[in-house]
């Protein structure tokens, strides 16, 4: 009798699961999710339009902080601050960009009310260099960035 019970149990355990409906669901879901998947996250930097350099008057009051992007250096200048030149080797010089961040953080500590900065670029300054300087300004607590053409 015991043997018969074991045999019945074996029959029950060996029953196959019906996985075809689940497979069908997966086959439909995966292409749908593939179509709507985003693998690169895009962010935005909101800002004001640039001037052409000729008609833009620097503000009469305030710090009027400006970062000039030159091929060999970043130049930080403004009212009531000592101009600082931060040398850099090339456009991907991260150490120079970090030194720029430190300089901007120092200025932000001395002038906590200032949130604006002008980024003055040359005609041939690359876009990623400008974005890197924007990032450092924002990180230093100066998110109001405007672009301007250099002399």
């Amino acid at each position: 009798m015991n043997k018969r019970r074991t045999q019945r149990f074996h029959k029950l355990v060996e029953a196959d699961l019906e996985i075809m409906p689940l497979m069908n669901l997966f086959v439909v879901l995966i292409p749908m999710l593939l179509l709507s998947a985003v693998f690169v996250e895009i962010a935005a930097i909101r800002m004001s339009a640039p001037g052409d350099g000729a008609d833009v008057e620097p503000p009469a009051a305030g710090l009027d902080l400006a970062i000039v992007i030159q091929p060999e250096a970043y130049l930080v200048r403004g009212r009531d601050i000592v101009s600082t030149e931060i040398p850099r080797t090339d456009r991907n010089d991260v150490e120079a960009a970090d030194r720029l961040l430190a300089a901007l953080e120092g200025i932000a500590l001395e002038h906590p009310g200032n949130e604006a900065v002008r980024i003055i670029s040359q005609d041939d300054t690359k876009y990623d260099e400008i974005v890197a300087v924007m990032d450092r300004s924002r990180d230093a607590g100066m998110p109001r960035v405007s672009l301007q053409a250099g002399d």
Binding site: A43, T125, A149
Partner: protein, 162 residues
């Protein structure tokens, strides 16, 4: 005799069952990964050929008109409106092809808003998807032209770094 033995062997073993467990494992992992990267609200994707610069900005882009600037082309949506080489050879800040298309889109938006009875409508913003290697000269011209087209709010699209 030979056929009889073969059919008996087939009866004894039956059809070989497919091993589905490993395939199901793969599908479950794939499904979870895809659900994680699923975006329901139609997030902006970069135009083909544009290598956006990386940034630490965390602001999400709005649904807006997209101007892509890369290689030698300036595109509004999918439509090529100007050539970078030609525009760089001119001293004028205004890019005529881009300005004409943006003014057209601005007028369309204003007409639609007027039909709906919206007073003082917001034209929305323009998102610039610029390649990381474009020069400031062309970026400045594009931004100036976007302003000329009637759009005051400008966003620069970047790839978010963590």
């Amino acid at each position: 005799m030979f056929g009889r033995r073969r059919s008996r062997t087939r009866k004894k073993f039956g059809p070989a069952p497919l091993k589905m467990t490993s395939m199901m494992d793969i599908l479950v992992v794939l499904l979870l990964f895809l659900i994680k990267s699923f975006v329901a609200d139609g997030q902006m994707t970069p135009a083909a050929g544009v290598q956006l610069p990386a940034s630490s900005s965390e602001e999400l882009p709005d649904e807006s008109i997209v101007v892509a600037v890369f290689d030698d082309a300036i595109l509004v949506g999918e439509e090529r409106v100007a050539s970078i080489t030609e525009e760089l050879s001119e001293s004028d800040l205004r890019i005529d092809g881009l300005a004409d298309r943006l003014i057209e889109l601005y007028d369309q938006k204003m007409t639609l808003a007027a039909r709906r009875g919206i007073v003082d409508p917001d034209p929305g913003s323009v998102t610039i998807q610029g390649d990381r290697d474009i020069e400031f000269e062309i970026l400045q011209k594009v931004m100036y032209t976007v302003g000329e087209g009637g759009f005051d709010q400008i966003s620069l699209a970047v790839i978010r770094t963590t």
